[in-house]
């Protein structure tokens, strides 16, 4: 293994995983000297009965100060400030975030405001603004993908000023993350597939990116192994509790990997596509991941070849010639997208021209690809990508991903 000359790694989140992990919440909060938490969630999660499961697991042992179930799909500054006021009114002393990325970000934002005794979150944006620990935060993810239950970042949008503010601090890491199979059992097949591919992308980009290190490699490889063995299976059979728990673990492991090793061009283009066309993040990741591998392979051939071991298992790895392993890794990811497409009844998109919006129209018109490429030029994740990309490179990748054809290796500038 090539050790980097220098790296940094940190994950200070206690993970509690199991089919009945939620029942541990009262003891966890007691250890954190809290007894009156506020639950932060969204209408979808509450409507699916997941908050009831949490309440059922902690009843008789804990007083819930408030249940705020109106977090919007995009985290919102006004909502954060309003819910912080509710937290104070109800005399709460901890937060339990039950949901996906937006809920986690909102809970982290609320935590900054209530812990700092402030009235406006925006005073604490950027890196290094937080100087002390915040109130106890317990994260209960309801998707297996984003990894935000183990990340130190919160993104909150100021919709009035059209600003997206990032808050970065080790104090934003949840104290505890609960990975409970009951939280993802009702997730629809297409969302299961897309969020699972998001986790796979976190792990793979962390593994071949510029910030890779032995510790994030270990969690990335463990995540890839779990996802390879469970994602298609759980998409076919959503009530498979073991596979659900495996995916929850995989997403957290991938989260640990990418929050330390960062991500690259798959996320750069995914953020831009999401921003320009409103395509869900996981869908973008699934479509773009094979192109990240193809584009960077001349810089990372040997490292990418190692991914065949957790993906295909020891027999496949040993039986594949070293020079063919990266080809098989890329083929494996494409086959996974095909299997997920079949398992979800065609709802998992394999390329951009297949993605539809809520009205059933194409969500990524070909004419918008130049806009996406221009937007990608301003995304910081590109710093961590092994190979450079300019506007023409971004457009070349987007056009291939739109059509669903492999990159022409002769067009990749080296």
């Amino acid at each position: 293994m090539d050790l980097p000359g220098y790296y940094e790694y940190y994950c200070g989140v206690k993970i509690i995983a199991g089919h009945d992990a939620l029942e541990r919440i009262p003891v966890i909060l007691q250890d954190l000297h809290a007894c009156r938490p506020m639950i932060v969630t969204d209408k979808g999660v509450a409507g699916a009965g997941l908050v009831d499961i949490v309440l059922g697991a902690v009843k008789d042992q804990l007083t819930i100060g408030a249940v705020a179930d109106d977090v919007p799909p995009d985290s919102d500054l006004r909502v954060v400030n309003r819910l912080a006021a509710l937290y104070r009114e109800q005399d709460c002393d901890a937060l339990i975030a039950v949901g996906g990325g937006s809920v986690m970000d909102t809970a982290k934002g609320i935590n900054i405001v209530v812990s700092e005794g402030a009235d406006d979150l925006m005073k604490f944006s950027g890196a290094g603004a937080l100087k002390r620990p915040l109130k106890p935060l317990v994260a209960v993810p309801t998707t297996a993908g984003t990894g935000s239950e183990v990340t130190l970042v919160a993104v909150v949008k100021d919709h009035e000023r059209h600003l997206k503010m990032a808050f970065v601090s080790y104090f934003l890491l949840p104290d505890v993350s609960i990975l409970d199979s009951r939280m993802t059992l009702s997730l629809p097949a297409a969302i299961t597939a897309a969020t699972g591919m998001d986790a796979l992308t976190h792990a793979i980009e962390a593994y071949y990116g510029l910030s890779k290190n032995p510790l994030s490699d270990a969690t990335a490889l463990a995540a890839i192994r779990l996802i390879s063995r469970n994602l298609v299976e759980v998409t076919r059979n959503p009530s498979d509790r073991e596979a659900r728990l495996a995916m929850a673990n995989a997403a957290a492991l991938a989260g640990m990997a990418f929050s330390n090793s960062m991500v690259g061009m798959v996320h750069t283009l995914g953020h831009a596509t999401g921003s320009v066309c409103g395509v869900p993040h996981g869908v973008c990741m699934a479509i773009l991941l094979p192109y990240g591998l193809e584009y960077n392979r001349h810089k990372r051939e040997a490292i990418m070849g190692e991914l065949l071991f957790p993906m295909g298992g020891s027999d496949v790895f040993a039986g594949t010639h070293k020079e063919q392993r990266t080809d098989r890794v890329i083929a494996y990811v494409r086959q996974m997208n095909q299997d997920l497409h079949d398992a979800s009844g065609g709802r998992h998109a394999r390329f951009f021209k297949e993605v539809l919006d809520r009205e059933g129209k194409p969500a990524v018109p070909r004419g918008r690809l130049p806009d996406i490429a221009r937007t990608a030029l301003g995304d910081g994740s590109i710093f961590y990508n092994p190979e450079d990309l300019d506007y023409d490179d971004f457009l070349m990748v987007l056009e291939a991903a739109w059509e669903g054809v492999a990159l022409d290796s002769g067009r990749i500038r080296k």
Binding site: Y6, G209, L210, G378, D379, F383
Partner: protein, 176 residues
């Protein structure tokens, strides 16, 4: 009660002087490159009017400051941030990190990946400035060294590269 002598960190004057010289030179080269190279000019044109950035070493410098003037021309604005409105601050965490960067043992991208840089400001602007720094490094350095400093060495026409290189060196050294 024991009395302990207060220890002061070494000031490393030679390394500091080397980094200061490099920052001075790169800052002036950016000003020249914005006149000579169309891509560098376009990157600055895409930034807000009066945009100014600094690149420096924590905690006490050295630093270089480059910004657009009222006419939109790119100017090297010296080393002192006092009294200057700086939109983007790029800070190398310590002198040793700066030495690694400016002796080209580490590319800008690798330095970022190794968390040696703190960026205070808009990320899209930081991306544009890193692209500018990469182009300027390719002009200033021999190919063998520049290939260590950038992710991908650009495929430019040889004659144009040499012509621009001479103009940028003349601008950086003599202010022409």
């Amino acid at each position: 009660m024991n009395h302990y002598k207060e220890m002061q960190p070494g000031s490393k004057p030679i390394k500091r002087a080397y980094v200061a010289l490099m920052l001075w030179f790169v800052g002036r080269a950016i000003e020249a490159a914005a006149r000579v190279d169309g891509v560098v000019k376009a990157e600055f044109d895409g930034l807000s009017p009066g945009f100014t950035f600094s690149l420096g070493v924590m905690p006490q410098g050295p630093t270089m400051i480059v910004g657009k003037d009222d006419q939109g021309l790119v100017r090297y604005r010296g080393w002192d941030p006092e009294g200057q409105k700086i939109d983007l601050k790029m800070k190398i965490k310590n002198l040793e990190g700066a030495i690694l960067m400016f002796t080209f043992q580490e590319s800008t991208a690798l330095a970022t990946a190794r968390n040696r840089l703190i960026v205070d400001g808009e990320v899209p602007a930081a991306c544009a400035i890193v692209r500018v720094l990469d182009i300027v490094e390719v002009y200033l350095l021999p190919k063998l060294i520049a290939k260590l400093a950038v992710k991908r060495y650009p495929d430019w026409f040889f004659g144009e590269k040499i012509r621009n290189r001479i103009r940028i060196y003349a601008g950086a050294v003599f202010g022409l």
